[in-house]
Symmetry: C2
Subunit: 618 residues, 2 copies
C-alpha cells in the first residue's frame, strides 16, 4: 500500500516538493513546473538572464537528489560534460518527477555579490521639502467641538502659519497621534504651490527622516537620512529581487507584458524589498517608519515604470516610448511603501526610453555642467548612459553594452562574488590571478575578463581583430574554436577548468565597442576631440572597480588619455538621490538639467554602423 502511494506520487499528477539548498527553503509545485519556476515561486533568488528561455545558461543548479526530466539539447549546448557529470543542470530545462533537493551554487546566486552603495559626496546645505511644526493643543470638550484638523489649523493660524489641507492618508493617523501624544506633537508638513499638507503626526522633537534609493536593475542602494541635518544615518545595498524574473530589463519587460499580475508582481517584490530594508534600518536606529516623511527614488526607465506601476508594453517595443518622462510626485501609500502616511515619493525626470532618472541623478551629483568645461560622464551597466557637457550644453546617449561586464554571456562569467577572478596579470607567459575574497577561482567577473583580455592583447595572444594565437601553450579548444586556459580543472574551486573563449572575446568587443561608439558620437556631435576633455567621470558599480589602463588598452576609451583624467565616482545616481532628498534646490536643478539635454538616438545616427565596426577592433 505504502509502495503503491509512493509509485503514484512519482508517476502521476501529484504535487512535488522542492527543497533549495543552502537556504533550505521548500516549495510545493504542480508536476509540470520547472525548477526555475519553483525557485521564483519560492522567492529563492536564482539568476535567470533570459527568464527561462533556455538560451543564457545562467540558471545553473546542481541536483542533490530526486528524479528529474532528461538533459535537453539546450543544456548540452550551454554546459560542459564535466558539469553535467557533476549533476549540474539548467533550472529552466529541468522538471522534477518526484520530490527533489537542489543546490543553488554561489555562481548562480545573486547574493554575496560585491555591492557598492557609496559615491563621491558633495556637501550641500539642507533645504528639505518637508518642514516640522511643533504645536500644543487644548483638548476638545463639549463646548469646543472642532474636528481634529480644524483644531490643529486653529493653532497654526494663531502662529501665523499656513493651514493644513486634508490629506486622506495623513488624516488616518492624526486623531490617534494627537491623543497618544497628549495633544503636544510635532507635525511634518509639505508646502506646495497651492496648499500645505499634513505628512505625519509625530511625538514632540522626533527627527525627520528621509529615504533615498538608487533602484538598479541588479542592486538597490538605499540610504536613510536626517533631512534637516543632511546626515546619512544608514545605508544598505541589497539585490533587486526582480532579478529572479530576468537578469536584464528586457527580459523583465517581456515577463511583465505576459500579464498584468506579472507586472504588478515586479512592482510588489521591489516595494516589499524596500519595506523590509525600511523596517530593518528603523529597528537599527530605534526610529519609527512614520518619521520617514519624504523619499526620492531614481532608477532606469524600466525600473522606474515597474516601481510606479506604469505600463511597460510601449517601452518593450520599438520605438521604446516611456509613458511619462516628467518628474513624478506621488503618495508612498499608493504603491504600498510603509513610510509616513502622507509622505510622497519624488522621482526625477527620465531622459529617454533607455536613459532613466538614475542618469538624471548622476548628472546632478557630478555637477557635469559646472564651469562650462567639457566633461564626459559614462555610467557603465547593461545599458551604458553617456553624457557630454560643454558650455552649458548637454548631449546624451544610451548604448546597449550588454551584460558581459556583469559576467553574463561569458563562458565562465559570474557576478563579482567570492571566488570571482577580478584581475589577471600575465607573468612569464603564465596568468597570475586575483580573486574576490582570495577564494579559489570559480569564474570570471566583469573586471576580470576585461583585465584578462587586456593582458592577452599585451602578450599578443589576442590580435587586434580578437583572434587567439593557436600556437600559445595554454590554447585549448571550445566548441571547435580556440580558447585560453585561464585555470585548469585541478586548480579551480569547483574542479572544472576556467576558459576565456573566442566568443567571450567577441562579447567584450561588442560591449566596449558599444561604449566607445557612444563616446565618439557625442564627441562628433559636440565637435570636440577626446583630448579636449579634461574630465572623464566613470560612474556605476562596475565603473568603480574598472581598471582604467586595461579599459584604455582594449579601446573602451580613447588612447593617449592620461589616467589621471579619469575619475571613478561610484554610485553617482545614489548621491544625486540623497541630494534631492534634502534639497529643494537640487530637485529644481535636476528639472532644469533635463530641459537642456539633447538626446541622440544612436541607432539612427548617420555614421553609427561605421563607428561601431571601428570601435570593435582592439
Amino acid at each position: 500500500m505504502m509502495q503503491t502511494n509512493e509509485q503514484e506520487k512519482q508517476d502521476t499528477g501529484s504535487l512535488r516538493t522542492i527543497q533549495f539548498e543552502p537556504s533550505g527553503r521548500r516549495i510545493t509545485i504542480e508536476p509540470d513546473r520547472n525548477l526555475l519556476q519553483a525557485a521564483q515561486r519560492a522567492g529563492v533568488d536564482l539568476v535567470a538572464a533570459c527568464n527561462g528561455a533556455g538560451i543564457c545558461g545562467t540558471c545553473k543548479i546542481r541536483m542533490i537528489n530526486g528524479r528529474v526530466t532528461p538533459i535537453t539539447s539546450s543544456e548540452l549546448k550551454r554546459m560542459t560534460q564535466v558539469e553535467l557529470d557533476q549533476g549540474y543542470r539548467l533550472a529552466c530545462c529541468t522538471v522534477p518527477l518526484e520530490d527533489v533537493q537542489v543546490e543553488i551554487p554561489t555562481s548562480s546566486l545573486p547574493f554575496g555579490q560585491r555591492l557598492q552603495v557609496e559615491g563621491v559626496e558633495i556637501v550641500i546645505t539642507p533645504d528639505p521639502v518637508i518642514q516640522p511644526v511643533q504645536i500644543a493643543l487644548e483638548k476638545p470638550q463639549l463646548t469646543d467641538l472642532r474636528s481634529d484638523l480644524s483644531r490643529v489649523n486653529g493653532v497654526l493660524t494663531e502662529k501665523g502659519l499656513d493651514k493644513l489641507s486634508g490629506n486622506l492618508n495623513a488624516l488616518t493617523d492624526l486623531s490617534r497621534g494627537l491623543r497618544d501624544q497628549n495633544w503636544t506633537v510635532r507635525l511634518a508638513t509639505r508646502k506646495s504651490k497651492s496648499k500645505t499638507v499634513l505628512v505625519s503626526t509625530l511625538p514632540d522633537s522626533s527627527p525627520l527622516l528621509g529615504l533615498a534609493a538608487d533602484l538598479g536593475s541588479t542592486k538597490l542602494a538605499v540610504y536613510l537620512m536626517d533631512i534637516q541635518t543632511g546626515a546619512t544615518l544608514a545605508s544598505v545595498g541589497v539585490m533587486n529581487p526582480q532579478i529572479s524574473y530576468g537578469e536584464d530589463v528586457v527580459s523583465r519587460i517581456a515577463f511583465a507584458n505576459e500579464s498584468k499580475p506579472n507586472r504588478l508582481l515586479l512592482q510588489s517584490r521591489l516595494v516589499a524589498a524596500l519595506n523590509d530594508i525600511i523596517s530593518k534600518l528603523c529597528d537599527q536606529l530605534g526610529a519609527n517608519p512614520n518619521q520617514i516623511v519624504d523619499a526620492v527614488m531614481v532608477g532606469n526607465t524600466a525600473i522606474h515604470h515597474f516601481f510606479c506601476g506604469l505600463p511597460v508594453k510601449q517601452l518593450g517595443e520599438s520605438p521604446y516610448i516611456p509613458a511619462v518622462n516628467d518628474p513624478l510626485d506621488f503618495e508612498a501609500k499608493d504603491i504600498g511603501l510603509t513610510i509616513a502616511p502622507g509622505a510622497q515619493v519624488h522621482m526625477p525626470a527620465i531622459i529617454a526610453g533607455y536613459i532613466g532618472a538614475d542618469h538624471t541623478s548622476a548628472l546632478l551629483s557630478t555637477q557635469i555642467r559646472k564651469d562650462g568645461q567639457p566633461r564626459i560622464l559614462v555610467d557603465i551597466g547593461t545599458n551604458t548612459e553617456i553624457s557630454l557637457a560643454v558650455n552649458g550644453r548637454l548631449y546624451s546617449c544610451s548604448t546597449a553594452s550588454g551584460p558581459a561586464f556583469e559576467g553574463a554571456h561569458i563562458h565562465d562569467g559570474m557576478r563579482a562574488a567570492p571566488g570571482a577572478i577580478e584581475k589577471v596579470t600575465i607573468v612569464n607567459e603564465e596568468p597570475v590571478l586575483i580573486t574576490i575574497d582570495n577564494q579559489p577561482p570559480v569564474g570570471i567577473c566583469g573586471t576580470g575578463i576585461l583585465s584578462g583580455i587586456s593582458e592577452l592583447l599585451k602578450s599578443d595572444i589576442i590580435n587586434p581583430i580578437g583572434n587567439l594565437d593557436s600556437t600559445n601553450a595554454r590554447i585549448t579548444e571550445f566548441n571547435g574554436r580556440p580558447a585560453y586556459m585561464l585555470v585548469p580543472a585541478h586548480l579551480s574551486g569547483h574542479g572544472r577548468e576556467i576558459l576565456i573563449t573566442r566568443s567571450d572575446i567577441n562579447e567584450i568587443q561588442l560591449a566596449k565597442g558599444a561604449i566607445r561608439t557612444g563616446i565618439e558620437v557625442l564627441l562628433e556631435r559636440a565637435s570636440l576631440k577626446a583630448e579636449e576633455i579634461e574630465d572623464w567621470i566613470i560612474a556605476g558599480a562596475f565603473g568603480t572597480f574598472l581598471d582604467i589602463p586595461s579599459a584604455i588598452h582594449i579601446g573602451m576609451f580613447p588612447q593617449n588619455l592620461a589616467v589621471d583624467r579619469f575619475h571613478q565616482v561610484g554610485n553617482a545616481a545614489g548621491v544625486g538621490a540623497k541630494q534631492m532628498l534634502i534639497s529643494r534646490a537640487k530637485r529644481e536643478a535636476a528639472e532644469k538639467l533635463i530641459d537642456d539635454i539633447e538626446y541622440i538616438e544612436l541607432t539612427i545616427y548617420p555614421k553609427f554602423e561605421e563607428l561601431f565596426l571601428n570601435s570593435m577592433v582592439f
Copy 2:
C-alpha cells in the same frame, strides 16, 4: 464507521455548514460561532441593530433543521412563547451544534424595503469640474521619442491649453488608451489651482459621466449623471451592507473600534456595494467605468469616516470629534472605487460629529437661505438634523431621535417592507390598517406606529402622558403592562399577534420629543416663534412618507401650523450631491454655507432638559 463520523462532527470541534434560506447561501464556520456571525461572514444581510449584543431583538431567524444551543434568557426576554414555539431564535444567541438550515424572515431582511432615491430637483446649469479635450496625435517614431505624456502636452500647448501633470493613476491608462484609440482620443482633465491633471483617456466623443451618492446609514442612493448636460441617466437605491454590522452608526463605530480590520471591513463592504452598482449601471447604459470621471459622495459623519477609511475611535466617545470636517478631495483609486483611473471623490464639509456632509448637501439643495425668509429643514432619521435659516444666518443641531421611526425598538416594529402596517385609522373603535403592498400584516413600520399612536390619542385610548386606557376592549397585557391589540394572531401574516405596547409609546415619545426639542432650541436661539416660519422643509425617506397631520397631532411639530407650510422634499441630500457633481459653483456654495453655521450642541444647551421633558408629552 459512518455513524461514528457523524457523531464526532456533531459533538466536537468540526466545522459547521450553515445554509441560509430563502437565498440558499451556504457558509462553513468554526464551531463556536453564532448564526449572526455566520450571516455576516456569508454576506447574508440580516438586521442586527445592536450588532450581536443580544439586547435589540432584531436579528430574528427561524430554525428549519439542525441542532443548536438552548434558548437563552436574553431570547426569553425579547421573544414571545409563540415565536419560540414556531422555531424563532435570535441569530446572535444561537450557536449551531451541527450543520443547520436557517430561514431569514422578511421582517429581519433589510431588502425589499421601500427605498427612496428621488428628491425635489432644481434645474441648474452644468459647470463641471472635469473638462474634456479632444486631441489627435502623431505616432512616436525613432526620430520623435517623446514620452506619451510629453506628446500629449505638445499638442495641448499648440492648442493653447494647459499642460497636464503626471498623475500616477491616470498615467497607468494613458499609454494603452492612446494606442487602442489609434492616437485620437478624448481626455478628461481636471484643473486645480496649481495644475491640470489627466483623469481618463477615452475613445473620441465618449460622454463624460459622474457618480453622485447619498451614503445613508440604511440606504445608498446612487445616481449616474452626464456631467456635461446635467442629465441623470440612472439612479438606484440599495441597502447599505454595513447594516449587517449594526443597524445604527453607534453600533458600527463600536464594531469598527474592535480592530482595524473591522474598520476596514466596513469601508470595503461599502465600496464593494458601490462598485457593484457602478458595474450594473454601466452595463445597463453600455458605458465604461472609465467614463465616470468624477464623484461626489455625501453621508453622515460616521459613514463619511468609514467610507474614507478615517479613524472613528474619537467619534465614538464624548465629545464625539470628527478627524476632519473640511471638504475632502481624494483619489477614487485610494479607496478602491472602480471609476476612471484619475478620478477623485469630492466629499463636502461636515458640520459636526453628528451633523454630516449629507446635511450640508441638503441645506444646499433646499436653498434654505434663499431670500432671507425664516425657514426650517428637518432631516429625519436615527439622528435628526435640524437647521433654521433667517436673514443669512444658519443655526443647526442634531438630535438623537433613535431608530424607532425605522421600526427598531418597537415590539412589532419592522422596516418599511412588504407586510408592514403603514397607516392606522380607528373607525368605530376598530383599527383599519393599510399595509405596504397590501400584504397580510407582519409588523409596523415607522409611519404606521406614528399613525397608530396618533389615532389612539384621538380616540382617547392613550392619554397625554402616554398611558393606555385599560378599559378599552382591545387592551391586553404585555410584560405586565397594558398593550393595544392591533392585529390578533389569526389575522396576521405570521400567526402571531401585533401589539402597540406601553414601551412602544414611550419610544415614540422619546423620538418625537427629541425632534421637537431641537426645533424649540433653534427657535429660541433665533428669537423666532414657530408661526413666524412659513416654510417647514421635511427631508429624508421617513420624512417623505410621514403623515404630517399625525406628526403635528402627536406633537412632533408645533400645533396650529397649517399643513401647507410643510414641504416634503424627499432625498434632499442626494439632490445636493447631484448638484455638486455637475457644478463647481455649487461646491463653492456648499463650502460657504458651512462657514456661516452656528452649531448648537443640545446636551449642553441650558434649558435642554426642561424643553425635552415638555416635548415628550403628547
